[in-house]
Amino acid sequence: MAIVTIRRLWKEYGEQVVLENLNLTIADGEFVTIVGASGCGKTTLLRMLLGVEKPTRGEILIDGAPLVYEPAPERGIVFQRYSLFPHLTVTRNLLLGLELSGAHLTGRLFGRARRQALEQVHALLNEIGLYAARDKYPSQLSGGMQQRLSIAQSVICQPKILLLDEPFGALDPGITADMHELILRLWEKNRMTVFMVTHDVKESFQLGTRLLVFDKKRHDPHAPDAYGATVTYDIPLNRRLRAVA
């Protein structure tokens, strides 16, 4: 878990103002859902939290310390697609996280360390219902299975913050209920602060403890890029917070 503070944050691409004057304090263990029109800067915000994009002005603090602008194990990410490793089986996709964070020279674990890691991986595979598919490659999995694996992969290193960018956007609506249950279970168990971007407003109410709506406050019809989006609605959805408390 981590407290995330965003102060006077601006993001511009050249002339285009994407985000303007964002001020937020996100409590420990909060499940933040983010909705907003397409192109309003939701992914951009997530990319800044991830550390692959720098704000033009302003700052992001994690537990009071300035965010390091480089991807780090304390911040996990689930993309909509392409974040599994196609050359590794399901088991090894999960194992890789433990190997990379456990062996800095070889990137591989051996002997007892490997056996222990595999036990952890198998437990997690059982939990996400992929144990039977453990020796398959990602391309042999359905979209929903791939995304479950991707989520599990992101939490295995126990990040303090989990970022999800429309993780279920490409999935069949029929299986999203399962996915919601999984993500909530992992969130409660791992006690992470979660940021999830979604296009599904119902989903954002169901999952979140706090809902942020992004939109432009000001509009200039002659210069559509002159003003950026910011949080226009900040809705606490308290009923879930008790689960972590």
Binding site: P73, R81, H87, L96, G97, H104, L105, G107, Y137, Q153
Partner: protein
């Protein structure tokens, strides 16, 4: 399903259709050879198929009177040794430099323009330089193949590395990867199947450079032999040698394809 585009041959049909052009070629040759030999029994251009058997018998199973060696196999051994050493060096260099270019933007900026320019040098044009600098021995021949092929391998590997989705690289970093572990655990394994593809596609070039080098300065080798007997218009030697080179190249290509399927099954699916 009556459109031609939708009709697929069965297993037997596939094999038969694949063999058909070969059969046609052999038939056409025998026909042409017969016709010419009937007109002029001393014709050297299209020797009778029986003379190929004689040649193979003479070169592959009898010891040469002067050297006491079975020339067919000495030539094959010499050529394959040069080719495999060169391919090994090119593959290793191409993979490691291509990987470094793919993994580190600074290395990319430093090396990619140079490699691109270097790759434009026509290798045969610098063959004389190689012979002058490295002498007429094995080194120059191997170097020609290496110089000819390595830039292509490097660029292809680097290109493949840049095709790997950025999401994967970011994800690996959020799992604790350093530049080094990212390279060896995420990039390298995904580049290996492409290395096989690249080497396969460059086999033709490699043989070309090999035969060119052997033709100019050598005392043994498949290319040397062909250019040696050319003086006597010995088509009965040249043609079996060409067929043999083709067979070797085809076998290497097939072997590489099988190796790819065996060792990198995940790369077949997409």
């Amino acid at each position: 399903m009556s459109r031609l585009a939708n009709l697929h041959p069965g297993t037997g049909g596939t094999i038969l259709l694949g063999l058909l052009p070969f059969i046609v070629l052999v038939f056409a040759y025998v026909l042409g050879s017969n016709t010419r030999l009937q007109e002029n029994p001393d014709d050297k251009l299209l020797p009778a198929p029986s003379s190929f058997v004689d040649t193979i018998e003479r070169y592959a199973f009898q010891e040469d009177r002067r050297s006491g060696e079975r020339l067919w196999w000495t030539d094959t051994g010499a050529s394959l040794e040069r080719l495999l050493i060169a391919l090994g060096i090119s593959g290793a260099l191409g993979l490691s430099i291509g990987l470094a270019i793919g993994a580190v933007p600074y290395v990319r900026s430093l090396l990619l323009p140079f490699v691109a320019a270097f790759g434009m040098i026509p290798p045969l044009a610098i063959l004389p330089i190689l012979f002058i600098v490295l002498g007429l021995g094995e080194t120059a021949k191997v170097a020609l193949i290496v110089i000819g092929i390595t830039p292509i391998v490097i660029r292809d590997i680097a290109l493949r590395a840049s095709e790997i989705p950025h999401e994967q690289l970011i994800k690996a970093q959020t799992l604790g990867a350093s530049t080094w572990t990212l390279s060896i655990r995420v990039l390298l394994p995904q580049l290996l199947p492409r290395l096989i593809d690249t080497v396969r596609l460059n086999l033709g070039c490699a043989w070309l450079f090999l035969i060119a080098a052997e033709a100019i300065a050598s005392t043994e080798g498949l290319g040397y032999r062909i250019f040696l007997v050319r003086r006597y218009m010995a088509m009965d030697v040249i043609l079996p040698y060409v067929a043999w080179i083709t067979t070797l190249a085809f076998a290497m290509d097939y072997g590489l394809r099988r190796a790819r399927r065996t060792f990198f099954p995940w790369a077949e699916a997409n």
